[in-house]
Symmetry: C2
Subunit: 432 residues, 2 copies
């Protein structure tokens, strides 16, 4: 029936149950249901981990700091972020911070001096930091990548700056995140040919410099990032090279950048096939609820994306029946909650009509919808994981898609193909 | 010692203790300590009240809706408001809504249809609505006041509109606020001479039309607004006329508009001397923490002001030692909370340094400081009221001012004069 090997995602929920969120220098045995008939244990050596990881759905720092830099260009209407207390109440256990922005303010030296970002922002759970490379490339007008590192003009004052793998890792050591990302050579997902090959090979060469620079091997975990765009051979090359480094976990980068969904899921599937089954796999920058369900079935453990809160600011709420656009005039008379079955504070207190009348005008409304969307996603991941533990993943997935595409009455072909690869039968039919 | 007669402010705390926030058609006897040696009861007939009232420190709708209209002019950077859940947790029991903005969206007819604003925004405590006159005059380019009402151009689409006392009261009946404000003729505080006299007399003539139009006398309470600027004779005339209407409560309007502080407190004092001792007195648009302490001593029960949250957005936090400007560079190294003695969530979780690095860049920081400032004010009022019940008001006031002006080492003359009028001796000296 259902035999794809890698289903280690959403471990933090599992860990939470036993109240051992912070594991350090300890060997932990975690059981995952791998098919409907049989349970099997993975043996994790957590000696180099502070904890095992979660779906990253709480990029508070990412969103806000990024917006700070964008705001002079296009994003003047600052909308509401969530407080760390709210993220805690949402059972989020892993936040994402942008190294690039944190390095600018309050600064790596400062953060090191005050005992790291956890302490500074009073967040007692996990933090992941990116390498800073992505912001650098996307925010800078001038950017030149050489073997030594990346030369770019500061988006703040235009001065020339230089970032090497050693610099990125040093700053991430100062920040003290539980998961650090290796600096890689970032190119557009759909890039083909020589440039992609160069980027891929440089990413592989740089991983040794990243590892070499990492001074807190027993406290912080460094993930290499698998690159290679949508080129299977480059991905395989990159996978083989990075896997040989025996890292604490692995990220799949360079996706969700405009590629065809058929290419997207096949690359994810290739990576999860190759990557070690006893290490967490983090798919960067993904995604929509359906992406999470599909990729979790393909063996991904962690995700991050700004979509849930960005789309909330534009008035779109997640529901089990797909997206609800709160600005449509027909919403004005809907006195029910966004989702009848949702247990979040927004759904408990406010009607769709109230949100219709306030979204886009009161920042509080954006906040309420952001809160709902994060609740929805964390709850989705929790239930998805539980269904694996219970051996009911196939039912869960069928139920999810039957509801999710209720109005379209049609499942996209790429999802059908991906589910077939994951050996999950979609057996339902839509109601007429 | 201390014999000023009117100390009925902050009743809702008292009521809260007995868990009877919603009182309706019930006679309630409330005791207030009127001087240091003697307790005396006021007999309130609450038959026309839904509840007794609070310091209004939660103008969520006011702030946000107002900003919605302002935003195209000057206030593009929407910062964070608080959710009604947070206001509830702050023990706020009275919110202020702007009739003018609510009438525009979602509209009076709509609100009536869905059962009123309480239900629509899921707020189970009290709501106060203004008359709409202030926004009309302040937001409109064209505005002409006649005996019939106010003719003005809509700030939304420029079309000509007309607002009579009957219209304002009708909309407020539809909204269903616990406290409604009568439409008056609003002029600049510092206006002198004939125009002020006309405004004052028209306000008096209009009160009958306001009362006549009020269709829910047993469910909603209508406050007349005492006008007259800083002219004692006009104030007295207005007071005598309005008091004869035997309203549920009274507001003092037309202050905090740029007048001298010596004029300000003397007018407040005049009004509280004249107004009935068994009715709540609401001082509109006030104010700073020191204003609240002074005016409460002079006999005011209710206040509202946007200052606490507006100043938070600009990075100023309230403390017992006065204002703390979070953007000063010296704050970067301050790893303690805003106020060591504060019990709010912001002070429990975040350092001044953290706020320094985020205020003005992350809306979350504005939110955290707004939350702190509201907590500070509600706590200030709670303690102030408790000191009256305990017969320790004089100590409380001395302690407050000694801390509040710790750095200036000097109390403004107007406060000394006002405290003398309130028969409160300021006996402390500042530490050298």
């Amino acid at each position: 029936m259902y035999e794809k090997k890698k289903y280690s995602f959403q471990f933090y929920y599992f860990i939470q149950q036993f109240n051992i969120v912070f594991i350090f220098k300890q060997t932990l045995k975690i059981y995952c249901t791998q098919n409907h008939k049989q349970s099997q244990g993975f043996n994790f050596n957590t000696s180099s981990w502070r904890s095992i990881y979660a779906c990253i759905y709480a990029s508070r720092h990412q969103r806000n700091n990024k917006r700070f830099f964008f705001q002079k260009k296009k994003d003047k209407n600052l909308k509401k972020g969530l407080t760390s207390e709210e993220m805690e109440n949402l059972n989020c256990r892993l936040l994402l911070g942008n190294t690039y922005h944190l390095a600018y303010q309050p600064g790596g030296d400062f953060l090191e001096k005050v005992g790291g970002l956890h302490k500074y922002m009073n967040w007692k759970y996990n933090i992941l930091t990116d390498s800073g490379g992505f912001q650098m490339v996307s925010l800078s007008k001038l950017c030149e990548i050489t073997e030594e590192g990346v030369r770019f003009s500061s988006p703040v004052d235009g001065s020339e700056m230089f970032l090497r793998p050693e610099d990125s890792v040093h700053t991430q050591n100062q920040i003290g995140a539980d998961i650090m990302m290796a600096l890689d050579d970032v190119v557009q997902t759909t890039t083909q040919g020589e440039r992609m090959k160069i980027a891929c090979e440089r990413t592989v060469r740089w991983i040794d410099r990243n590892i070499e620079a990492h001074k807190k091997q027993n406290e912080q975990n460094l993930y290499p990032i698998v690159q290679g765009g949508i080129d299977f051979e480059l991905r395989k090359y990159c996978l083989e090279q990075l896997i040989s480094k025996d890292a604490a976990g692995y990220a799949i980068g360079g996706l969700a950048g405009g590629e065809d969904k058929q290419d997207f899921w096949r690359i994810v599937n290739l990576c999860t096939d190759y990557l070690p089954k006893d290490k967490p796999v983090y798919l960067m920058g993904v995604g929509y609820p359906e992406d999470l369900v599909v990729c979790a079935c393909l063996g991904v453990d962690q995700f991050d994306c700004v979509f849930s809160t960005r789309t909330a600011r534009f008035g779109t709420a997640f529901t089990k029946y797909g997206f609800l656009k709160l600005k449509n005039s027909e919403r004005q008379l809907d006195l029910g909650p966004i989702d009848d079955d949702c247990g979040c504070e927004t759904c408990k207190r406010f009607s769709v009509s109230f949100l219709y009348n306030t979204i886009g005008k009161e920042e509080t409304a954006c906040h309420l919808v952001s809160y709902h969307n994060l609740y929805y996603l964390l709850n989705l991941m929790k239930n998805l994981r539980q269904s694996i533990l219970d051996g009911t993943l196939q039912q869960f997935v069928n139920n999810f898609f039957k509801n999710y595409y209720k109005y379209e009455k049609k499942i996209p072909q790429w999802i059908k193909d991906a589910m077939e690869a994951a050996k999950i039968n979609l057996t339902f039919t839509f109601d007429e």
